[in-house]
């Protein structure tokens, strides 16, 4: 829970407090002040709301995916356009996640370990892609690399394609996933302070050694959590990629775009078959998140003066 709270703090540009938050003791909950019927009604209401908006939509994906039988399911996933879309999705995530990982570590190192003027502005800039509509994220690359854009004429003369081609898709994916890893690392590294790194420095460690041997091991769970979230978003991004893709079947379609094409073609079973793949990815993401959170809570943050 602490991690997602941090993620939200991140969204809001707030410096989170210590990462490991003690859970309310079960005793407190058992002593709940409401009569049993109130409690039961509230739980029932909450579950009904979640069922209508969460559980049933998730279930419908898998039911519809297998509605026409296993053969249709297998055919939908084995079709060459679907495989091409899968490859492109993996490629876009495979490029954008490592890039944003390096960015996240660099940004966290600068922001969490040093004090400088304009730090809060930089923090807000790191968060910026969260508050930009995915459609606008795609639009900005059209304005820069599109035919009417800043570099449009130059790119055409040199026969380089960015938008309506793979580079544009990768760029749009990178844009929307910029903050994910940085936002997990910054609050944790701020909370941990820099005593350990300074001790390593005094003992003669180089900067890279400190990063590799001291800092990264201390934040490994937050890092992994950030990577998981970043990957889920990278593979599932729709709006930004849709703008720059050009929708060339088998060439510039990612899995989410392929779902749209199938769905608009009334190939519902096939659309849901591909969707079930991404829904499974989402479930795996949630499970990994649970595991990582449990590990992170098991190894509490070394206490040192956290600054707000």
């Amino acid at each position: 829970m602490a991690a997602i709270a941090q993620a939200l703090d991140g969204l809001a540009g707030r410096d989170a407090g210590p990462a490991a938050r003690p859970l309310a003791p079960a005793r407190q909950a058992a002593a709940g002040g409401e009569p049993a019927w109130v409690r039961r009604t509230l739980v029932g209401l909450a579950l009904a709301f979640l069922a209508l908006f969460l559980f049933v939509p998730l279930a419908v994906v898998f039911v519809q995916a297998f509605a026409k039988g296993l053969d249709v399911y297998r055919a939908a996933l084995g079709e060459s356009d679907a495989l091409a879309a899968l490859r492109l999705t993996l490629l876009a995530a495979g490029i954008s996640v490592p890039l944003n990982l390096v960015f996240g570590v660099a940004a966290a190192w600068a922001i969490a370990k040093f004090d400088f003027r304009g730090k809060s502005v930089l923090l807000a800039l790191v968060d910026l892609p969260f508050s930009v509509s995915p459609v606008i994220a795609g639009l900005v690359y059209m304005l820069v690399f599109g035919l009417q854009g800043w570099c449009g004429a130059w790119l055409r003369d040199h026969d380089v394609r960015v938008v309506f081609a793979v580079p544009g898709i990768v760029l749009a994916t990178v844009f929307v996933t910029v903050p994910f890893i940085a936002r997990e690392l910054i609050p944790l590294m701020q909370a941990q302070g820099q005593e350990q790194e300074e001790a390593a420095r005094v003992l003669g460690a180089s900067g890279w050694q400190i990063l590799w041997r001291v800092t990264l091991p201390n934040v490994k769970w937050a890092l992994l959590y950030g990577v998981i979230l970043c990957n889920a978003r990278a593979m599932g991004e729709f709006g930004a990629v849709s703008v720059v893709s050009g929708h060339i079947r088998g060439r510039t379609d990612t899995l989410p775009l392929h779902i749209e094409i199938l769905y608009n073609d009334y190939q519902f079973a096939a659309a849901f078959a591909v969707a079930s793949l991404l829904a499974a990815l989402a479930l795996v993401t949630l499970v990994l998140k649970l595991i990582v959170e449990r590990r992170a809570n098991a190894s509490p943050v070394p206490e040192s003066g956290h600054e707000h």
């Binding site: 540009g13 707030r14 049933v56 790191v126 930009v132 599932g236 989410p256 775009l257």
Partner: protein, 277 residues
């Protein structure tokens, strides 16, 4: 803060500041800031009159009304039910609680296109849920609201939950000792303490809903003047090679998004003051 800490912050012995900050700025500049500045610079090439004509044309205004209205309504419903879900998850024990808790994050993890086709199928007039409803949901503005409610669901839960967990039970017990009913305690003691987190979650859900595209376009029906959201209009203009028009509308949405971001930051500052940090 001790003087030692202050000194350390001025003269850090750690290396790599220049490299890390330089890389961060370069990366942000090339990936985010320069491309984003294109929206502003492109708008400057549009004359004021044609900018205004674009952003207040009836079809665009109808899309604002739908986008802002549905986003607001979705965020409101999420504020109420998000608070309820957070309350139930923190205060009560029931079978499957941990599973439910984990699944609350589903809208963060599930690709929007998947959510879009699932909700559309479900709320269509022959769908599992739609067939029991007296009104048409899919392909109407109501469908937009359903999709935006799904998208914003985790925000309020995840901002309120940690605050609720940290809340001191003594306050409620004191209120009860002083003769307050449970409802009075909730309204006078709990709600004020949760207000900053609740407002933050509401604003985050609202901001997210404003820009949402993937889940909405499947369920909305996308009829001009009726169920067409603003992000879709940006794409429609782009597909007609009307870059100036698309950018003008995008600028309006960006300004709204930045205003909300500022609001969230102010709310967070307020929340921190309330929590006495």
């Amino acid at each position: 803060m001790s003087t030692r800490a202050l000194l350390l912050r001025r003269h850090s012995v750690l290396p790599g500041f220049g490299l890390a900050l330089g890389f961060t700025l370069l990366y942000l500049g090339f990936i985010v800031l320069i491309p984003l500045s294109a929206v502003f610079l492109k708008t400057f090439t549009v004359s004021w009159d044609s900018f205004v004509a674009t952003v207040i044309s009836p079809r665009v205004v109808a899309s604002y009304r739908l986008t802002f209205g549905a986003a607001l309504l979705a965020a409101l419903v999420n504020a109420v039910f998000g608070l309820l879900v957070a309350w139930v998850l923190v205060r009560y024990r029931f079978p499957g609680r941990r599973l439910v808790d984990a699944l609350v994050d589903l809208p963060f993890a599930l690709p929007t296109a998947v959510a879009g086709i699932a909700l559309t199928t479900l709320y269509a007039s022959n769908g599992w849920i739609g067939r029991w409803l007296p009104v048409k949901v899919s392909y109407t503005p109501l469908g937009v609201w359903v999709a935006l409610t799904f998208i914003g669901l985790p925000f309020v839960v995840r901002t309120v939950q940690p605050v609720l967990q940290d809340l001191q039970r003594e306050l409620e017990e004191a209120a009860a000792t002083l003769g307050a009913t449970r409802l009075q305690t909730f309204a006078r003691v709990l709600l004020p303490a949760l207000a900053p987190a609740l407002l933050t979650g509401f604003t985050l859900a609202f901001a997210r809903a404003l820009g949402e595209y993937g889940s909405v376009i499947f369920i909305a029906g996308n009829m001009p003047m009726v169920s067409e959201i603003t992000p879709l209009l940006i794409i429609t203009k782009l597909e007609q090679y009307d870059y100036a028009g698309a950018t003008s509308i995008a600028l309006v949405m960006l300004v709204a998004a930045f205003a909300l971001l500022l609001l969230v930051n102010l709310l967070q500052a307020w929340a921190r003051k309330r929590q006495g940090h």
